[in-house]
């Protein structure tokens, strides 16, 4: 077990390194000098540009700059925002709670809708429940979530006036954004669970279990789900990024504060340190979520552990 966790942890290191390299290089891949972008509009003298370069840590070779970036990163310093002069860490931490609430809301919708749909579709493929569940899931995959958000606002906020379209104050204000964010994810979970259940139901041990007279209910929960849920969980982890990225458009539509709305605004302002901060945070969160999911999967399923200790 320890060996499995250590091996899985070791896998994270090169990816983490790659993420920091990619995020660091955003600054250098942008055409033009960052200091000039910052002083854009004002007629900056070369002296001013040079001073600013120094202030931003843009002197020395690219390797030493990257080294500095890593050192600062380890000290929890993501630099200063170009547009507000606050630290990026302070700015991000003021936006983060809104996005976490939204992502959790989306996750609740995704699991609450996706798991039941996947079960009713997978237990009796081809039946009427499968057809309905498949219809809901197919629409979930096909309707762009930002358009779904608009439809929900139109129906529940503009026509029926039962739920607020904007604002962040109450739990009620979280309902529509969560549905818009979670439905597409629910569709993917439902499809995967259906595929996995269909596969499990065809296995010999299921035939034996049914032959010895187990009820369909116990068949489902004691045998089918235990086998089907493992790989579904892994995919849920892989798709967790969908929730984080989907929050971008959802926050913009609902006029909610949060990391996504913040990112879009800062891209328009070319505020590179803020962009780097958000991108880094999302990538690392995503990486950690997948690490935890894999470890959990290994804890639940000894076959996974063994496949890692070759």
């Amino acid at each position: 077990m320890t060996q499995f966790i250590l091996r899985r942890l070791l896998m994270v290191v090169p990816v983490l390194f790659g993420i920091t390299v990619l995020v660091f290089s955003i600054l250098h891949l942008i055409p033009g000098n960052p200091a000039q972008i910052l002083l854009f509009g004002s007629n900056a003298t070369p002296q001013q540009v040079a001073n600013l370069d120094k202030q931003l840590g843009l002197t020395g070779s690219i390797y030493s700059q990257y080294g500095n970036y890593l050192v600062q990163l380890l000290h929890g310093n993501l630099g200063y925002s170009y547009s507000s002069n606050q630290t990026v860490v302070a700015e991000i931490s003021s936006q983060l709670p809104y996005t976490i609430n939204l992502a959790l809301g989306g996750l609740v919708v995704a699991l609450g809708l996706g798991i039941p749909l996947g079960i009713v579709a997978g237990v009796r493929p081809g039946g009427i429940t499968d057809k309905v569940a498949t219809g809901v899931a197919v629409l979930g995959v096909a309707i762009p979530y930002f358009w779904l958000a608009i439809l929900l606002v139109l129906l529940f906020a503009v026509k029926l006036r039962v739920l607020p379209a904007l604002g962040t104050g109450s739990v009620k204000a979280l309902i529509l954004p969560s549905i818009a964010l979670g439905w597409g994810f629910a569709a993917i979970i439902a499809r995967l669970l259906r595929n996995n259940l269909i596969e499990v139901y065809d296995r010999p041990f299921m035939i034996v279990a049914r032959a010895k007279g187990l009820s369909e209910w116990r068949l489902l929960w004691q045998h089918a789900m235990r086998n089907a849920v493992g790989s579904t969980v892994t995919i849920v982890g892989l798709q967790f990024g969908y929730l984080l990225a989907g929050a971008v458009a959802i926050e913009v539509i609902f006029g909610r504060p949060g990391l996504g709305a913040f990112l879009v605004a800062r891209i328009q302002e070319k505020d590179i340190p803020s962009i780097q901060g958000v991108v880094l945070l999302v990538a690392v969160v995503y990486l950690v979520v997948n690490l935890l999911v894999d470890v959990a999967h290994g804890l639940l399923d000894p076959r996974i552990r063994r496949s890692w200790s070759r």
């Binding site: 955003i26 197919v138 503009v158 990225a245 991108v279």
Partner: protein
């Protein structure tokens, strides 16, 4: 003695997907008919895809208003005269939706081509070579996959600045690792096959082996992924246009028009409904076409009971 056993009795690794037998037109037509009978929805999707492409190609020849022309009062409800109504400036929404297809589809097709053109060779390279090059390529793909699609696309937008070309590049790069991952596994299992060892033994170079023995086996899976990917890239491109990082306002575009209509939702829902329906329909068509092509290219799929078929919607979730 045990060493007298027939060579065929030895345990063999699971057979990889077989290459399509003979792709003459007659075989293709027969498979098309067979798949259509099995999957009527897929047949409808194939026809709809053809219609969509024709509509986009022939848009300038159709008897509809110019997409940027102001043809009547603003925010007119749908009528016989303006099928989908008019938008906030009095432009014909029907015409904008059809002309918008040109831009959106070209972006989606180019981005998919880009992702396939970079991702497939990388995936084959990683699957075919064993030692460290494989590890390096797949770790780089892991890094790219650590950024959710939209986020990676936004990074590209940050670097290149908003624009039409940027959207193509951003979407293409975001889907590159998916193509690499889709071909990586199968390439690895094909490589372990005896016929590859045989090809190498008679002196085939790696390039020839990949071209003649690996790619043909991968082709059916690739066709399916490419078809479904058109749906995913349509969505991502529309999202970027929706957020205002793509095409400039007067040009018709589904994502941009959808976003422009949001302010008028209360009075004129049709402004954003038309492009919204268009995006949804395109993704649906691409998904069903993907399933249909899977049935057409994979004979084993045709033999399975229909209700037990896996659909390609889950491909994107990284099931491979």
């Amino acid at each position: 003695m045990t060493d007298q056993a027939a060579p065929g009795a030895q345990a063999r690794p699971a057979a990889p997907p077989r290459a399509p037998r003979h792709s003459s037109w007659a075989v293709l037509a027969a498979r098309f008919r067979l798949a259509s009978r099995r999957d009527p929805l897929g047949f409808i999707a194939a026809v709809a895809a053809l219609l969509l492409v024709l509509l986009a190609l022939l848009a300038p020849l159709l008897p509809i208003a110019a997409p940027a022309a102001i043809v009547s009062a603003s925010q007119q409800a749908p009528s016989a005269h303006h099928l989908f109504g008019t938008d906030q400036l009095g432009r014909d929404v029907f015409s904008r939706t059809i002309f918008g297809a040109r831009h959106t589809l070209v972006t989606a097709v180019l981005a998919t081509a880009l992702a396939a053109a970079i991702g497939t060779p990388l995936g084959i390279l990683a699957g075919y070579l064993t030692r460290w090059p494989s590890g390096v390529v797949m770790r780089v793909m892991d890094v790219l996959l650590a950024f959710p699609g939209l986020l990676l696309a936004l990074v590209v937008v940050t670097i290149l600045g908003p624009g039409v070309t940027t959207v193509v590049l951003a979407v293409g790069i975001s889907y590159t690792p998916i193509f690499a991952r889709v071909v990586y596994g199968p390439t690895k299992s094909i490589r372990a096959q005896d016929y590859i060892a045989a090809a190498r033994a008679v002196g085939c170079g790696p390039l020839r082996i990949v071209r003649r023995h690996v790619l043909p086996v991968l082709s059916s899976e690739l066709i399916v992924v490419i078809s479904s990917a058109i749906g995913w890239t349509t969505l991502l491109a529309a999202t970027l246009d929706f957020l205002g990082f793509g095409i400039r306002p007067p040009s018709p575009d589904w994502g941009a028009d959808l976003s422009a209509g949001v302010q008028y939702l209360g009075q004129a829902w049709w402004i954003s409904a038309a492009p919204g329906i268009a995006i949804t329909a395109t993704i649906l068509i691409a998904n069903y076409l993907g399933d249909f092509l899977a049935s057409m290219t994979d004979p084993d799929r045709l033999r399975q009971p229909r209700t037990k078929l896996k659909d390609t919607t889950t491909l994107i979730a990284g099931e491979n």
